[in-house]
Symmetry: C2
Subunit: 84 residues, 2 copies
Amino acid sequence: METIEIIGLIAATCTTTAFVPQVYKALKEKSTADISFTMYLVLFVGLILWLIYGIQYDSLAIILANAITAILVLIMLILKIKHK
Amino acid sequence: METIEIIGLIAATCTTTAFVPQVYKALKEKSTADISFTMYLVLFVGLILWLIYGIQYDSLAIILANAITAILVLIMLILKIKHK
């Protein structure tokens, strides 16, 4: 595998797993007051569109990365609604 | 332009601009207690790697989207450090 493809894989892993500590923090502290609902809503729409893009191009990397991130972002949206 | 490319452009616009309302909220309310520093740090590393990926492939879309998002994420990191 080329170096640049490895960099791409690490990049995808970072931008996907980044949301795990945020979900963990929100679940543990039961507080999301400082979190922007609009951010997570727009992000969710964007990730679903990336998912469609990935499906169209049969790109497992794009599909996987965006599906996992979309689930984490959806959890944040649900927590934000619950904490209102 | 093909429909799928338009979907990709809207997707990129969403996942980039999503961070604007979060930065605005953090600047306005001067509170980032519920924000995970780890999330933004890992995200920043990922975005810089995507930027390198985009530069390597000469993809203006990947470069632009990730550069803008990286700046917004960096602002969140600075605010998080400032509010400590």
